[in-house]
């Protein structure tokens, strides 16, 4: 196994301040399987570790004995531009993949914060999502197959490298969003997309009343924007656009050929008026990156999902100014992050539940000023679903090696 002792300092693998007893960094698939096998034998609780982007802000598992650092498994195994598919080891970073693909005019339909650190496996396991979700799809939509290691060291595979495949169970899709609780993703094959010829971001400052007006936004989803993101005032300062004086910034983005983007932008300007700023191509891409990175911000965070697809869905937040200022809503993806500050998390969850938002994920932050840790799911999962998850987890990890296995069973935030 590679990497010097400094790189494997347990302090670098802390989750919510909890360090593992030891760290292993396998350089090959079989080595990863060996680590798991001996961990199972020794009764250790293992956390698969990519860039630590999602984990570092998460809750520590009940037991955390061994961090399995996968960043040495970082080869691009195969990129076939003429097939628009890519196979890579799961420790490769999003940044590395993006650079490799950009050179060939293609894009990975995956987004996540901190692309220089975030790994392919981490993005898949965390079901990461960004502002362009409607255009990109979810991780489960672009994964074609995967190699993974079960907790007992068994190396297995499902799916393949081709874009259509219905042979056997899609365990690779099940592992998307599994938070490292079921198995260790080692290699994944993905469907790619052509890089768009043109990107445009239209940026609008918006007041409370305009934000909550459903009629104003109703036509936007049918334009199939790549981005339809609303940012509260407390967050907007971190964006590469002029500092807003309005309570909200709404960003409508399009990615397509020149003619189509021009047409879509014209429709939006007819509906919403002249934008306060307009960014194009690389500047727009930089903005998407900033929007994605906003998620990885210090402090408490509540992440929701909902079917509502316009900025008006944020109306219930308007009465809670601090929470509204800390809102980041990717409407086209149905994903809403709220950085509540000191506003009670319970109140936010209750008011958004009335608008159809379900709590997906939480981060308590230092001192937990919003009372995130005390949240209980509003609608507890059905007993039969919990039992089924427990059976699936037990089937794949009977010895309970995966430290986040129980959390996968319980699900929710």
């Amino acid at each position: 196994m590679s990497a010097g002792p400094a790189a494997l300092d347990p302090a670098r693998y802390a989750i919510a301040g909890v360090e593992p007893l030891s760290v292993r960094r396998p350089a090959a698939r079989e080595e990863a399987a060996d680590v798991l096998r001996s961990a199972a034998r020794d009764g250790l609780a293992v956390v698969p570790w990519g860039g630590g982007v999602s984990l570092a802000r998460g809750r520590a598992p009940g037991r955390y004995d061994l961090a399995l650092d996968l960043t040495a498994l970082d080869r691009v195994v195969e990129h076939r531009p003429e097939d628009m598919t890519l196979t890579a080891e799961c420790g490769v970073t999003l940044g590395t993949l993006r650079a490799a693909l950009a050179a060939r005019g293609q894009e990975l339909p995956l987004e996540g914060a901190r692309p220089d650190r975030a790994t392919l496996g981490g993005l898949l396991a965390a079901n990461a999502s960004g502002p362009r979700r409607l255009r990109c799809g979810a991780p489960r939509d672009c994964i074609l197959g995967a190699h993974f290691a079960l907790a007992d060291g068994t190396l297995a595979r499902s799916g393949g490298r081709v874009v259509k495949n219905v042979a056997g169970y899609a365990i690779h899709r099940l592992l998307c969003g599994s938070q490292g609780g079921l198995a260790v993703l080692l290699e994944a094959s993905l469907k790619l997309a052509p890089a768009p010829a043109r990107r445009v971001a239209l940026v609008f400052g918006v007041g409370h009343r305009a934000l909550g007006d459903p009629v104003r936004w109703a036509a936007l989803p049918r334009l199939e924007p790549a981005v339809l993101t609303t940012v509260g005032q407390a967050l907007a300062g971190a964006l590469p656009v002029a500092s807003p004086t309005d309570p909200f910034t709404v960003i409508v983005g399009f990615e397509d050929d020149e003619a189509r983007v021009a047409q879509q932008a014209a429709v939006v300007e007819r509906l919403l008026g002249e934008p306060d700023a307009r960014l194009e191509d690389d500047s727009a891409a930089t903005l998407w990156g900033s929007l994605t990175d906003l998620e990885d911000r210090d402090g408490a965070r509540l992440t929701f999902t909902g079917a509502a697809n316009t900025p008006a869905a944020l109306a219930p937040l308007i009465e809670r100014p601090e929470a509204a200022a800390g809102a980041l809503f990717h409407a086209a993806a149905g994903r809403l992050h709220v950085f509540p500050g000191c506003t009670r998390a319970r109140e936010i969850v209750d008011s958004l539940a009335r608008a159809g938002f379900a709590l997906l994920e939480t981060v308590a932050g230092d001192g937990d000023p919003a009372g995130v840790a005390a949240l209980q799911p509003l609608i507890a999962p059905q007993t039969a679903v919990l039992e089924l998850r427990a059976r699936i987890h037990t089937a794949l990890d009977p010895a309970g090696v995966m430290a986040y296995g129980t959390r996968w069973e319980q699900g929710g935030p």
Binding site: R80, E82, D83, M84, N127, S129, G137, A138, R140, D141, T154, A156, R157, S158, G160, R161, V162, V163, K164, N165, V166, A167, G168, Y169, A170, I171, R173, L174, C176, G177, S178, P194, A195, A218, P221, D257, A259, R260, Q263, T305, A307, N309, G334, G356, A358, L360, Q382, A384, V385, L388, R389, R391, I392, T394, A395, L396, W408, E409, Q410, P413
Partner: protein
């Protein structure tokens, strides 16, 4: 199971008399799906109307130790809906309602027996449609599409069924009804719906399905291109993808297929060509001319002899009618044929098609090809004389050799038809024992009693 009058009376009490069929004639009607090489007689056929009725049936079956096989329209081509172990055949054709349609959030809840094309018809007044379009769409059901993770010509641009399912209400093998996923793009907790899709009825019975609807394209441009060599047509397809163009569909018909379609429908297909491509681009009107121009240039560089655009909706419909009638065109010859399904990387299509012809030829059998070429998905048709046992056996062997060729070229044994009964033996060739054991572990976690569509999707696998 002893199918006593009392047992059948229990089922009739659940569904009413017209929901339970047990006559020999009725059972024979349902002894196979579209893979007619395999048959299995159900002991009873049940036709529920609601989620509650499905749950009650699954509970009843479990308490009596009876296998349950779900069936939609029976258009499956891999024997997935053939009740090879007898038991209860649960037919969803009376569960055909749209339960809710939300045009603003662009989703619909439907029952599994709803016919695919019907959903798009009902969504059309809202400017929406359901994108997955298997060739069977005038009859096949959404439930069957989800169970098989069905594809279709337009999956090239729009994705397969799995990309269009948001939530599922499922009767688990114990008969408990659960919601997996929902109306939002994500759902809290584990994504069990994602593995239910494509599981061919082996993990539970679909009762209600929430599908994503997408805006109908503003404009459509359909063109037919003919080639003197099949390989040229395949390479043209790969070159279009390599140029970063993803058309809505790229379909290939070879001469054998064109001849049969032409003899039936008289569409004026170019019978002097070795292959014809149907390429369709859809989307905003403003974007189409440039895409069409680029595709045309690439196709000509790869040997397209002519490029003809459908001038109106009728011509477009005729092109698609020809393509989607291919299966029927082979069928109406009265000769037996074996329709196959395999996938290769798009850049290996030409090699794969050459292998199909060579393997069939070596056994003295005829072969025709129909390809979802843009997806690298092949549907070879192997022609044989059903009364000649040697030919019949040769056809089966050729089909397996073709699938082995797909695997060697980096592809797999099914792109959209599924494994069912047909491809059980081939699963061992595409997956290692540990892969299959892992899948078996998952299956047992859902269905410890092994009553959900037994004998499908996974071969028997010895323990490690």
């Amino acid at each position: 199971m002893n199918w006593t009058p009392a047992a059948l009376a229990e089922l009739r009490a659940l569904l009413g008399d017209d929901g339970v069929l047990d006559s020999d004639a009725a059972r024979l009607t349902y002894d196979t799906d579209a893979l007619t090489l395999e048959r299995g007689l159900p002991d009873v056929v049940v036709l529920p109307r609601s989620t509650d009725e499905v749950a009650a049936l699954v509970r009843w079956a479990r308490s009596h130790g009876v296998p349950v096989t779900a069936r939609g329209a029976g258009t499956g081509l891999a024997g997935g809906a053939t009740p090879c172990h007898g038991g209860m055949l649960l037919v969803t054709s009376r569960m055909d309602q749209v339960l809710a349609l939300d045009p603003a959030c662009m989703f619909a809840w439907v029952q599994p027996g709803l016919v695919n094309a019907r959903l798009s018809e009902l969504a059309a007044p809202h400017g929406l449609h359901f994108a997955p379009d298997p060739s069977s769409q005038p009859v096949s059901t959404i439930g069957g599409n989800v169970a098989a993770n069905a594809g279709g010509p337009h999956c090239l641009q729009h994705g397969v069924t799995a990309n269009h399912v948001l939530g599922l209400v499922v009767a688990l093998p114990g008969g408990v009804v659960v919601l997996l996923g929902g109306e939002a793009p994500d759902a809290p907790g584990a994504d069990l719906a994602s593995v239910m899709i494509g599981s061919e009825g082996t993990l539970g019975i679909l009762c209600e399905i929430c599908v994503r609807l997408v805006p109908r394209p503003e404009a459509v441009h359909t063109m037919s291109l003919d080639f003197a060599e099949v390989g040229d047509a395949c390479r043209a397809v790969s070159a279009v993808i390599a140029a970063g163009i993803v058309p809505a569909a790229m379909e290939l018909m070879d001469r054998q297929t064109m001849e049969l379609v032409e003899a039936w429908l008289h569409l004026g297909l170019p019978l002097d060509a070795a292959a014809m491509l149907i390429i369709e681009v859809d989307g905003p009107a403003v974007s189409l001319p440039d895409r069409v121009e680029r595709i045309t240039v690439i196709a000509r560089e790869h040997g397209a002899r002519s490029v003809r655009a459908a001038s109106d909706a009728a011509e477009r419909a005729a092109l698609w009618r020809g393509r989607k009638s291919s299966f029927g065109a082979y069928g109406r010859t009265g000769r037996a044929f074996y329709l196959m399904d395999g996938t290769v990387p798009r850049s290996r299509l030409a090699e794969a098609v050459a292998a199909v012809y060579a393997l069939a030829d070596a056994r003295g059998l005829g072969a025709g090809a129909l390809l979802h070429a843009g997806d690298g998905n092949l549907h070879p048709h192997i022609l044989f004389d059903d009364d000649d046992e040697t030919q019949r056996q040769a056809a089966l062997e050729v089909s397996q050799e073709i699938l082995r060729a797909c695997i060697r070229l980096g592809g797999t044994i099914s792109g959209e038809h599924g494994i069912g009964l047909e491809k059980l033996p081939m699963m061992r060739e595409v997956y290692a024992s540990d892969d299959l054991r892992t899948m078996d572990r998952l299956r047992r976690a859902f269905d410890p009693d092994g009553l959900m569509n037994p004998g499908k999707l996974l071969p028997e696998i010895e323990p490690a």
